[in-house]
Symmetry: C2
Subunit: 609 residues, 2 copies
């Protein structure tokens, strides 16, 4: 999935890289001797989108993840143990103290939060595993799943951390004295040192952050790394405690949940949007990467990524709204049925939603429906184009549907195409009809309406003769006889293709019995049904008058018998019975007019906003 | 704008109210004697949407705003003085200390943040005004603008605060000693006490919070209370410092930027979604309203409102994408021109965007366009349905357009209808054509293409005779003569309505010279142009064959001359020259067929996702 052509995002990253690379303030961390070997000039960046596109700039030098591991291991612990068990030992309050302080909340007896070393050591001990080796496998495996590739441990850095890690040992002993750690403290601290020594690149950090931004699903591998419900908690502690003493100003200036580490890494996530990874080993006095902070701030400002920037969802999410007197199902109807639907179809109301449904869009829908003054007996909510139904939308939609059903409105839902939206809609109110396409829902409501008016059973049994065909209804007996003399009868078993889109025109078809459907291939290759045509109705009028290839594919939905007037027969009719032919042509022109009128009404029904 | 029918949101609020009203833990604040008089049973809630709908539950008892005023006055100070001046005196770091501590950041010499009393007193002194009276007017006026109604001061509470406010006086003197306050300390403290004594209800707090969530625009009055660019800063300090020592856990559990006060008020805002106000005077040990915290948590959980819940924008924001060989502009074209466009129209590509454009949707668009393998000479980006173009989208779109122009592609932008989106698009790349509707852009590209092929000047000068009309092109001279004998000539000055939608059919019109446009009225009452019809083309075919009322309105775009065949003349032709009439009817049927074929192609071009 590599980009073929460098685009504006590559440009943007390159611009930021160039301007930030000039900064060479700060110092490489020295308290772990092995880290002091880092090349201070190194500077790499990655940006990962939620559909798995990864943009990079600069050098992707491997480095040990250090404290940037903390939020990801916290996510693993929450996934393995649940919120209650983790919160019992590690809190969520920021501290004003340094990262390596012995921070216990006096009031609760817990480690203050999982972003300081004390809380992080306790958190590591909480991940799943019967032994330290199992837990290490879980941590390295989990971090690898976040990164979307197998990560390893830098044994030199691990050895260096272990050799100089007395302060962390002291913290761990203190945690044990407070009852927050069990078992062997040395092994626990080793586990933590190994976690910190996992090797990543700036690109990895971007993908890891994007996995959080994407609700726990790695956007590159599509793996659900941690459950969606732990992600908000992880992003929250990153927001309040991720950037050491700089958390408040970082949120103010950059506005992204983030975590930094002493090796110069920064991972930042904007929920629902993207993940960012930066690596540059020069650190400021607070222990954050100097270039990392500036680069993140510039990218955030250029792209307007601040978490607290109100980006209104101005789009109402309502694509169009119409009633059956204006837009009809594609089910063929007799003249009499059409008249009933013309007169009473306004009792069938359809509202078509689009995009992501959240609180604001659904609240608007609720008001639109509840305050609609036109009497409505059937209400169809078309969710096909809905891409997501969030918790708020689900609650409101459920309440609305229940209220409509209680008020005696027959309600139909058209299922969304998007999987997550479909799952959300499936949990909605009982007592509603469910369809997979809007046309079927409209047909259902029309059929109910026609049934109540007694207009359902009037289709003749057996073959509808030419004289009773809708197209020929107004023609004189003599004309129909002339046409009949030139038609042949064809039988199509259910499922047969009568003709393909693009085929040479081979006649005008009158459906005597059965039913066919007309569909076209869309640009995505999917087939889209335009209409169903039942006994008494005709198809193939376009090609008989203009001789051009078929604009649609026709297939038999059930065993179907057609009277067919071939192009040759039409030409013969013109030559031998010109008056009859003229009447037929006029009848065809009228039928085409009607179709164009519906198509115009369809356009007028489109929501203008 | 009251809701006519109680809907699911009223139900939800009522449910939360009932369950939370049962809690009666906590104590009424007593340190200001007047506050101790509050009725502990009082409990009211408000929820305001960003289009100005306000839902309420419980009792809307007036109370003094107290510390809930702090973020709003901070917003006024930022608006009046700018970020730099305010940040010079008041920082953004949370403190672990109580709200009434003397909190100065030792390193910077600033008040820690504007949510503790020290920072709030300094902030109040920074709002605009030549005197304390002016500043008070600004503060009360500003809070009133946030609430959308005139607010007053409770003089009893003010007197009580003033009589017992020694600690705040001490804080103010300390601020003055640190050089953060000038002028008379007593007056400054009085100003602050008056600010705290402004009287509001839970409904007011909801609207005030919604104003922040709405980018500074009061959703009820539509007034821009503070500039958009201060809102993210205000919401940031609410996020990190709004709920006293409970800020970390509040963000973890409730996930909303919020501010509470000792009189029992809580205001919470979800950017881009809603504002919430709760009032109940029983406080917990940290000084937050007990019921306020629980009610906010339940509403947040039920509606899934957590700020850090990744709510993916899964909708790509691309409504459809098509090329001119499939979908044509509505400008009438001659046969020869149509053939050129059929053959070469694929060089004209249109991409139609919809809804809010942010980073994710625009990044997808960029890739779609840059990786499109079909050779493209004209690229039209149709933004009409775009409701918002955020900073990221603007940057990426600008880069994309510049890259296309540099690559020799002629680019046209179709302006969005939404005002904010239009403003954003206006700042985009130079060197692109701009249109207000997609049809005009398509017509421009077609005209450019036809011009390059030398097919532009072939329209005859003067009146196009019947024999050269597209509709009659294939008919024999004799037939055309029969028709001609029965037409009359009509002249329509530019701007004249030829006939209205719904009018009785009065004939088939052949445009001899000039140009007309066909439009329909949509359900929102707007007019939508369906086509323009130029000399050589006909209109009114539908009504001549079916006699039904006009489906569109036709108006002359320029001085226009038409040859008109009336219904009577058509009937005469049928009676007197049936063969000629049959040929005309067939020609009409062919023309209608062609229009239906385009309409089918239009449907197939719709994006299926």
């Amino acid at each position: 999935m590599a980009v073929q052509v460098p685009g504006p995002i590559d440009e943007l990253l390159a611009d930021v890289w160039r301007s930030v690379a000039e900064i060479d303030d700060g110092e490489v961390a020295t308290y772990i001797p092995e880290l002091a070997k880092a090349d201070p000039a190194t500077f790499g960046m990655g940006l990962a989108t939620l559909d798995g596109q990864v943009y990079v700039a600069g050098e992707l030098v491997p480095f040990t993840i250090q404290s940037v591991s903390k939020p990801f291991v916290y996510a693993l612990a929450l996934a393995d143990r649940g919120h209650a068990d983790v919160l019992a030992k590690v809190g969520t309050e920021p501290t004003g103290d340094p990262f390596n302080s012995i921070s216990i909340d006096e009031a609760t007896g817990r480690a203050s939060n999982p972003m300081v070393n004390a809380g992080a050591i306790v958190t590591s001990s909480l991940v799943r595993g019967g032994s330290r080796a199992d837990q290490l496998e879980r941590i390295v495996g989990g971090l690898s799943a976040f990164a979307g590739r197998d990560l390893g441990i830098d044994q030199d850095v691990f050895a260096s951390e272990r050799a100089t890690g007395d302060r962390n040992r002291a913290i761990a002993w203190f945690m044990r004295s407070a009852g927050l750690l069990e078992d062997d403290v040395d092994e626990q601290v080793d586990l933590y040192f190994r976690q910190c020594s996992v090797v990543v690149t700036a690109r990895d950090l971007a993908v890891m952050a994007a996995t959080l931004a994407n609700g726990g699903v790695n956007p590159v591998t599509r793996e659900q790394v941690v459950p969606r419900d732990v992600v908000a908690s992880v992003l929250t502690v990153m927001t309040t405690c991720g950037m050491y003493d700089y958390a408040g100003e970082w949120l103010y200036r950059v506005g992204l949940p983030a975590k930094s580490g002493v090796s110069g890494g920064v991972a930042a996530a904007l929920p629902g949007q993207l993940g960012l990874g930066v690596h540059s080993p020069l650190l400021d006095a607070r222990g954050n990467s100097v270039r990392g902070v500036v680069a993140a701030e510039r990218i955030s400002r250029t792209l307007g990524l601040h978490l607290l920037l109100p980006s209104e969802r101005t789009r109402p999410g309502i694509r169009r709204s119409y009633r059956d007197d204006a837009v009809r199902s594609r089910r063929g109807r007799t003249r009499a049925q059409t008249q009933v639907l013309d007169a009473e179809g306004s009792a069938i109301a359809v509202v078509e939603l689009t995009g992501d449904q959240g609180f604001a869009s659904t609240e608007l829908l609720v008001r639109l429906v509840l305050e609609d003054p036109t009497p409505t007996r059937w209400r169809i909510v078309d969710l096909r184009r809905v891409t997501r139904v969030d918790t708020a939308a689900q609650a409101l939609l459920d309440g609305l549907l229940a209220q409509l059903v209680a008020g005696g409105v027959a309600v139909a839902l058209v299922e969304p195409r998007a999987e997550t939206a479909r799952a959300a809609v499936r949990t909605l109110a009982a007592g509603v009809e469910r369809f997979t396409d809007a046309d079927a829902a409209l047909e259902w409501a029309e059929t109910e309406l026609l049934g109540r008016r007694g207009f359902l059973d009037e289709l003749p049994e057996g073959l509808v003769p030419l004289a009773q065909q809708d197209l020929l209804h107004d023609l004189s007996v003599g004309v129909v006889t002339e046409i009949e003399a030139r038609t042949t009868t064809h039988v199509f078993p259910a499922g047969t293709v009568v003709f393909e889109e693009g085929a040479v025109a081979d006649g005008l078809y009158f459906v005597g019995a059965g039913q066919v459907s007309a569909d076209v291939r869309t640009r995505t290759g999917a087939r889209r049904r335009l209409s169903t045509i039942a006994a008494g109705s005709a198809f193939g009028e376009l090609a008989i008058v203009d001789g051009k290839p078929r604009s649609t594919r026709i297939s038999a939905l059930e065993p179907t018998i057609c009277h067919v007037l071939s192009p040759q027969a039409y030409a013969d009719l013109q030559a031998e019975a010109p008056v009859a032919c003229a009447e037929l042509t006029l009848a065809i022109a009228r039928s085409l007019s009607q179709r164009l009128r519906y198509s115009t009404a369809d356009v007028a029904a489109f929501e203008e906003t």
